[in-house]
Structures are given as structure tokens and as C-alpha cells.
């Protein structure tokens, strides 16, 4: 007992290992995957891979932040890809059709305004009518995609407005390697700022804390005077804006506005967030865990490509990761909870639970 106790005093962060949401295990797993892959395929451990993972993670990070907010508050959202497409495609399509260029910020603002409105639809349905979030967002997802194709358009826009197209090829860092030039896109900067903002918002603002409280027990939240409905509505509006932001970044990176884009990204995103330690039952989850979860999914996807696994199996792998994440939560959730049954004795309870866990 004494040796670990001493080391805890010397490194206080060790006492918090592995973190409230097991971020430590996730980081260790990430290091493990990278280590194994470096041995299996020497080409893996390179700047090229690093940049490719960061590029691949940029858009998922944005969506994951939205999913994290919803999960923390006790819901689940599958409509964010639809909102992303609707908002980004509409913003580009409307400006292109009129032959105007709203500029980089103008187009983003337009898209995010649309995202807010669509998020508001989700929020009102969920908060005011207390409907299950999965079903509401499943319904709105279908509705948003359909409505966009009917009312906005279904044509692939290959030529983005100039202000956006300019950004498509702008790099933050570009490095020349034997395999060619590899780069990190400049849009990773606003995304990282966004992530820090959300981390701050969840930890240090009452809005963030009430989101956790609602996820923990909505009835208790109501009873202590938290405006549950208002908080939920604001939250879904925020998630709508985030989805729109993600849609715009995706559009710029892809150098085209495709009405069919982002199909099925909800699986990858939710898997990453759940792997990152956010609870599907609400009330738990962290930005750090989510960032790591997205990285893990990206690294694994990259690795699978490198060792030549067919694309179809990558989908299966992501699905499996989601199940592992949920399974780990169910397993961990069984362990720490102390029995509250009045009939069970306190001293005998401890060894017994360890038996269950092992």
C-alpha cells in the first residue's frame, strides 16, 4: 500500500487515473494501437499518418462535440448529419443560384442560422412534448433530408463560391515526405478553438453543469429549479449550429456541395463519443474523452486501410467498437455502485461485488 501511496503524493494526477470517464484507459489503448501498428507496418509511424489522422478527425470532432452535448444531457441525436447537409448545402446552393458570394463568414453564418432553426425543431419537439430523443431525431433526420431535396435541390455543386474554394486548398502546415506532400488543413484551427470552448462551457458554466444535471436526473433538475425545457431547447439549437459548422467544413474540404454527403456518419460519431466514455444513459462524458475517442476510431480506420482490410469490414469494425464502448460502460457501471438495499449488510457487501465484477 505504501509504495503507490507515495507515488500518488509525488504525482497528484496519478490519483485521478484513469479519469472520471476512463480517459486514461482510452489514451493507453490509443498508444497501444499505434505501437502495435508501428510494429506490423513500419510505414505507419510517420508524419503522413499523423496528418492524415488529424485531417480525418477534423469533421468528426465537430460532430462528436454535438453528440457529446446531447448524450451528456441524457438524449441521443441521429439527425446531425441531416442538419449538416441541409445547412451547408442550402447555404452554398442558395448563394450560388443567386450568383452571389456571401464570403467565408457570410456563408458560415447563413449555414449556422439554418442549423439553429433545424436544431430548434428538434429541441421543441423533445423538450416541450417530452418525446424520446432517438425517435424524434430519427424522424427529423428523414424529414430534413427529404425536405432539402424537394425544396432546395438535389444537384451536385462541383464549383464552390470563390471565397470557400480558396479555403479548400489552404494548409496550416505542409511537409514534404518521400510519399509526397502531406498537410494539415487550416480549418483545424477553428475546430480546435471550438473544442476548447465546449470543454470550458461544459466544465465552467452553469449551462454546462445543468446539462449534466438534466442528464443525471431530469426530475431532480426540475425540482431544484433548473429550467429544463429552456436548457434542452438551447442545447439542441447549439447542436444544430455545430452540425451546420461541421457540414461547412466538410463541404470546403471536399471542394463540393453534395446533397448525398455524410450518409452514415452518425454511426462513426456516436461510436467515437461512446468509446470516449460518454454514457448512453446520460450525465457522463468529457471533451477530452471524446477527442480521444474520435482519434481512436480514425487511427483504427487508418490502420485497417494500411493492412489492406476491405472497406466493408471497416464499417463492421466501427460497429464493433460502438458495441465494445457500450459493453465497457455496462461492465464498469456494475462495479462501483454500492448496494442500497436496506437488507444487505455493509461489511459483506464489498467482497461480494468484486465477485460479480470478476
Amino acid at each position: 500500500m505504501s509504495a503507490p501511496a507515495r507515488s500518488l503524493r509525488r504525482w497528484p494526477w496519478l490519483s485521478r487515473w484513469p479519469g472520471r470517464n476512463n480517459e486514461g484507459y482510452l489514451a493507453a489503448l490509443l498508444v497501444l494501437v499505434v505501437g502495435v501498428m508501428s510494429v506490423v507496418s513500419p510505414a505507419f509511424l510517420s508524419v503522413h499518418t499523423l496528418f492524415s489522422v488529424i485531417r480525418g478527425a477534423t469533421v468528426p470532432w465537430i460532430f462528436a462535440m454535438g453528440v457529446l452535448l446531447v448524450l451528456v444531457s441524457g438524449g441521443i441525436d441521429v439527425s446531425f448529419p441531416a442538419i449538416a447537409v441541409f445547412a451547408a448545402y442550402s447555404a452554398v446552393a442558395v448563394t450560388t443560384a443567386r450568383g452571389v458570394d456571401a464570403g467565408l463568414f457570410g456563408t458560415f453564418a447563413l449555414a449556422m442560422a439554418v442549423g439553429c432553426v433545424l436544431g430548434l425543431v428538434n429541441g421543441v419537439l423533445i423538450a416541450r412534448f417530452r418525446l424520446p430523443t432517438l425517435i424524434v431525431t430519427l424522424g427529423t433526420a428523414g424529414f430534413f433530408r427529404g425536405a432539402m431535396i424537394t425544396f432546395v435541390g438535389a444537384t451536385y455543386i462541383a464549383q464552390l463560391p470563390r471565397s470557400l474554394a480558396e479555403q479548400s486548398t489552404r494548409s496550416l502546415i505542409a511537409v514534404n515526405t518521400e510519399a509526397g506532400t502531406t498537410f494539415v488543413h487550416v480549418l483545424v484551427v477553428p475546430v480546435l478553438i471550438l473544442i476548447l470552448l465546449i470543454a470550458w462551457g461544459l466544465k465552467r458554466t452553469m449551462f454546462g453543469r445543468t446539462a449534466y444535471a438534466i442528464g443525471g436526473d431530469p426530475e431532480a433538475a426540475r425540482r431544484v429549479g433548473i429550467p429544463v425545457q429552456r436548457t434542452q431547447i438551447v442545447l439542441y439549437v447549439l447542436v444544430g449550429a455545430l452540425a451546420a459548422f461541421g457540414g461547412m467544413v466538410f463541404t470546403i474540404e471536399g471542394q463540393a456541395a453534395d446533397p448525398q454527403m455524410l450518409m452514415g456518419i452518425e454511426l462513426d460519431t456516436i461510436a467515437a463519443v461512446v468509446l470516449g466514455g460518454a454514457s448512453i444513459f446520460g450525465g457522463r462524458g468529457s471533451v477530452l474523452g471524446t477527442v480521444l475517442g474520435v482519434l481512436l476510431v480514425q487511427v483504427i480506420n487508418n490502420s485497417l486501410v494500411l493492412v489492406g482490410v476491405p472497406t466493408a469490414w471497416q464499417r463492421a469494425t466501427v460497429g464493433l467498437l460502438l458495441l465494445i464502448g457500450v459493453g465497457a460502460q455496462a461492465f464498469a457501471g456494475r462495479r462501483p455502485r454500492r448496494s442500497t438495499a436496506s437488507g444487505s449488510p455493509v461489511p459483506a457487501a464489498q467482497p461480494e461485488r468484486e465477485q460479480v465484477a470478476s
Binding site: K203, R204, T205, M206, F207, G208, R209, T210, Y212, A213, G215, G216, D217, E219, A220, A221, R222, R223, V224, G225, I226, S279, G282, G283, R284, P336, R337, R338, T340, A341, S342, G343, S344, P345, V346, P347, A348, P351, E352, Q355
Partner: protein
């Protein structure tokens, strides 16, 4: 504690009326709370206590009537305005956030009420620490609330109320899930709160406790006011009489069980390391056997082992003379053992499902008709007859169990197990959280079941209840059965002495 001669009430309710769908939940009820007093609100389930609390705390709006808090007249309250007026409710489920730390649970609602927009865990901790220290409590501020014991959750809820400047604290059934020692600690805390000038409304079924802690009491029955007076002017039976409007029989009623009656359950040398050892237990058909002991004695573990929740590692179990191997709950059910768990609301029921579905849950396979489809007609008739027999009070059998009172919910659990026609029924705290009237009815149901040939084991803290219904009482201490009382030796004082020994 003395009350000053002419105290201005801190809370006054005048002629409150509340109806739900034409039914009077409260019919012109008035209530006053004096500064620094503990005022007990007594009444059976459905008497209107909960509705009255909801009106004071702003969760429900009265149809008519006036609420005066701290000199301010209101026709209704909102949760926020009630909190602002210094009213705090310690709910039966505590209404804490299981995913947040103790410190945040205590400090956050106050911060919210003060209109704070930013939050700092580092700033919240001293606020929580101050109140915990002031009350002389030991609470791990950095633990998540879901890891706490029931008693610590309650203390957290009390700290939260005090941090939010509570002047009126309403405690809804605060002792239901507590042990004797924890109840004593709670009452000591209640007296300390009184000396700080806090007034408390104490809602409880347990009449002994009510008399121990409160200065005044108000009794409600069927939504109407029945009596208000100084607690010292009443005794247990008088309050029970006011609550139910009839005499309650707490005398000992046990049937005669012949010595050669067949053995329903025979347990020999049962043990599990760290929990209990060498447990021998014989229950004859028609017999009700009580199992009691302090919390931590292992009495609940023994029952859970017999039912296969946490199987025993040594010893044998025989049901109806046949040895059975019990490694899991299905094993136990197949052997003819039924178990009503301690925390019926979380362990025994599907709260959002209907009464009928809950009753059918344990024996659903028995209704498999042709082609493994359910024989719904047969199921419905049987459920109806058993619900009638147990007198489950509900508009119909398809209402959700969540909407039922404690006594009725307990009857649903009983019905569920009686449907499986067990040979042995184990009950852990069968009348915890149940009012006086329902309690004697539940004991009567157990007596009837025993008479029809079932072996019944009751695990309970409630000594008058053991006295009232059990043929024999076994006392568990340190995981072993240390004492057995039978026949005339089953007396309240004897049981108390043996448990304390």
C-alpha cells in the same frame, strides 16, 4: 423543545382545495407551521400528504386557497419561488444528481438560485465543506452521489437544502430506508436544525418515530383534515385510529401448525465466505418464520442465497423434501421459491409497466398456449382474481405501477410471486414504506397464504410486525443464526434484547 407563547407561523395554508379529474385530493385543508418546530404530517397513502407537499413546494397549483410563507400571500407557488421563500423538500428519492459529486450536488442549486452563470468546482467545494463541517457530518465530497449509501444520500440532500438557506424543510418519509442507528443520527440532526431556527415538516408512516421527533402533528384522511395537536397528547394507537378511522389490530395472530406438518424449506449448513456460515433453517408448511438482526448481520444475504441472487458456496437446500441445487434465480423459481426483495421499487417492479404485466412477469412461461403464444384470456382472468384477492386499489389493471401508493405497489409484488404458486415465499421487509392500514392487510395476506400450505420467511426490522405474524423468530448476528424464539417466547421485548445482545 418549547415553542414560544405567541409565535407567528412561518408557513400557513388556508382552505387549500385540489382536485384531480373530479376527485378531491385535498378538500379545504388548512395547516400552520411554527418557527423551529417539527410538525408531523401523518396519514395513510392517498390521504393527501404528498399533494399537500407538492403544493407547498410549488410542484402543483391548488384550485383554491391561500399560501402564506414568511408573511407573503400566494395563491400558488412555483418550484423556484418556493425555493426563494426558503422552502426545501427532501424527497423520498432525494432528487440528487447521481452523476455529480457530493460537493457539486450541495453547492450547485444554490449557485443556480443566486443566478450564477459560471461555475467552478474549486469554488463550490468550500461551500459544501462548510455546511458538512458545521453539521458535524462525515461525507466524501468528491465521491459521486451514486456511490453513496442511502443514509449519506439523505445527508447530502439535507446539506443541499441548508446551503440554499432553507427555513422550512419538508422531509418525505425520511426514515424508510434507514437503519435504527441512522434514524437516531437523523433525529439528532433534526434537533440541531431546529436550534438553528429551521422548521420541519416530517412525513412518516412510522408512528413511534413521529412521536419521538415532532412537537405537533396534523392528521389527514382521504384528502380531508382530521386533527392537529401537540404530539404529547397522542399515542400510537390514537394516531393510527385517526389515520384509518378504525381500530388497528396489532395483536399476535398465529395459526396452529402441527409438529408433523410437511417441511416446506430445509436449509442445512448454508454458508458463503464473508457473508454467513452454518445456517440451518427449517420452515414447515403453514408456518411464518421471522428472520431478524442488525443491519450487516447477514440476514438479507441468507435470503438472497436461498433465492440464488448470490448463491451460497456450501450447504444444502431442500424444498418440499427434495434437495435442490440453487445457482441462479431461475433455479430458485423452478424449485418453487419466491422472493420479495427489500427495495421493491427498484428490484421487484417494472415501474412504467402495467399492474397486469408486472403480475405476469415472473410466470409468463406458464401461460404459453399452443405454438408458444400467450394465452391472454387465461392470464387476464387469473391476474384479475389475484388482484381482487389482494385488494390492489387501482382504476384498472393496465395503469402503470409507478402511479400506485407504496402499499399497493407492495401488493403487486406479492401478487407477482403468488402467481408462480411458490412452495416457499421469502419476503425482505414486506411492509417497509407501507402505511398502517395496508401493513395489517399485508400481514393478513401472508397469514392466509401460510394457512393454505405455503412456507413463509419474513426478514424484517419491524419487531411489532414479527411479533404479530411469526410462529418463530430467528435472530442473525455475524452471519450466524444465534437465537431462536418460538411460541410464547416471541415477545417484542425478548426479540429486542436478543438482537441487541
Amino acid at each position: 423543545m418549547d415553542i414560544s407563547p405567541d409565535p407567528r407561523p412561518v408557513l400557513e395554508l388556508r382552505d387549500i382545495v385540489k382536485t384531480y379529474g373530479g376527485v378531491h385530493a385535498l378538500d379545504t385543508v388548512s395547516f400552520t407551521l411554527l418557527p423551529g418546530e417539527v410538525h408531523c404530517l401523518a396519514g395513510e397513502n392517498g390521504s393527501g400528504k404528498s399533494t399537500l407537499i407538492k403544493i407547498i413546494s410549488g410542484v402543483e397549483t391548488p384550485d383554491s386557497g391561500v399560501i402564506v410563507v414568511g408573511g407573503q400571500r400566494h395563491t400558488s407557488m412555483t418550484p423556484a419561488s418556493a425555493i426563494a421563500a426558503g422552502v426545501q423538500v427532501i424527497y423520498q428519492d432525494f432528487s440528487l444528481f447521481p452523476n455529480l459529486t457530493v460537493a457539486e450536488n450541495i453547492a450547485m442549486p444554490r449557485h443556480l438560485a443566486l443566478g450564477g452563470r459560471l461555475y467552478s468546482a474549486r469554488a463550490a467545494r468550500p461551500v459544501a465543506q462548510a455546511i458538512v463541517t458545521e453539521l458535524g457530518l462525515r461525507l466524501d465530497l468528491d465521491a459521486d452521489v451514486e456511490q453513496l449509501s442511502v443514509a449519506d444520500k439523505q445527508l447530502t440532500a439535507i446539506c443541499r437544502a441548508l446551503v440554499s438557506d432553507a427555513r422550512i424543510i419538508i422531509m418525505d418519509e425520511p426514515t424508510t430506508a434507514l437503519t435504527g442507528a441512522e434514524v437516531t443520527a437523523l433525529f439528532a440532526l433534526v434537533r440541531r436544525l431546529q436550534s438553528r431556527g429551521v422548521s420541519l415538516i416530517f412525513v412518516s408512516h412510522k408512528l413511534d418515530e413521529v412521536l419521538r421527533v415532532s412537537q405537533r402533528l396534523t392528521v389527514l384522511r382521504n384528502g380531508g383534515w382530521v386533527a392537529t395537536g401537540a404530539a404529547r397528547d397522542y399515542d400510537r394507537d390514537a394516531i393510527a385510529g385517526l389515520m384509518t378511522g378504525k381500530e388497528i389490530d396489532t395483536s399476535r395472530v398465529v395459526s396452529a401448525v402441527p409438529l408433523d406438518a410437511p417441511v416446506a424449506l430445509e436449509v442445512r449448513g448454508l454458508g458463503r465466505p464473508g457473508a454467513f456460515a452454518d445456517v440451518d433453517l427449517v420452515v414447515r408448511c403453514g408456518e411464518i418464520v421471522g428472520l431478524t438482526g442488525l443491519l450487516g448481520s447477514g440476514r438479507g444475504e441468507i435470503a438472497e442465497a436461498i433465492f440464488g441472487v448470490h448463491p451460497a458456496t456450501t450447504g444444502t437446500i431442500a424444498v418440499g423434501g427434495h434437495q435442490v441445487r440453487i445457482q441462479s434465480i431461475p433455479d430458485a423459481i423452478a424449485a418453487g421459491i419466491g422472493y420479495v426483495p427489500a427495495d421493491r421499487l427498484t428490484q421487484g417492479l417494472f415501474l412504467d409497466d402495467s399492474i397486469a404485466d408486472n403480475v405476469a412477469a415472473a410466470c409468463i412461461t406458464a401461460f404459453a398456449g399452443r405454438g408458444r403464444l400467450l394465452d391472454r384470456t387465461r392470464m387476464r382472468t387469473l391476474i384479475q382474481s389475484i388482484a381482487g384477492r389482494l385488494r390492489i386499489k387501482a382504476p384498472n389493471l393496465s395503469v402503470a405501477v409507478r402511479s400506485l401508493s407504496g402499499g399497493n405497489a407492495q401488493r403487486v409484488v406479492l401478487a407477482k410471486w403468488l402467481m408462480t404458486k411458490p412452495k416457499v415465499l421469502l419476503l425482505n421487509g414486506p411492509t417497509v414504506g407501507v402505511d398502517v392500514g395496508s401493513k395489517s392487510e399485508i400481514l393478513e395476506i401472508l397469514r392466509t397464504q401460510a394457512t393454505s400450505g405455503m412456507g413463509v420467511v419474513v426478514i424484517s426490522d419491524d419487531i411489532p410486525e414479527l411479533y404479530s405474524a411469526c410462529h418463530r423468530v430467528l435472530i442473525v448476528a455475524g452471519g450466524r443464526i444465534v437465537s431462536e424464539l418460538a411460541g410464547d417466547a416471541v415477545r417484542v421485548d425478548t426479540i429486542e434484547k436478543r438482537i441487541a445482545a
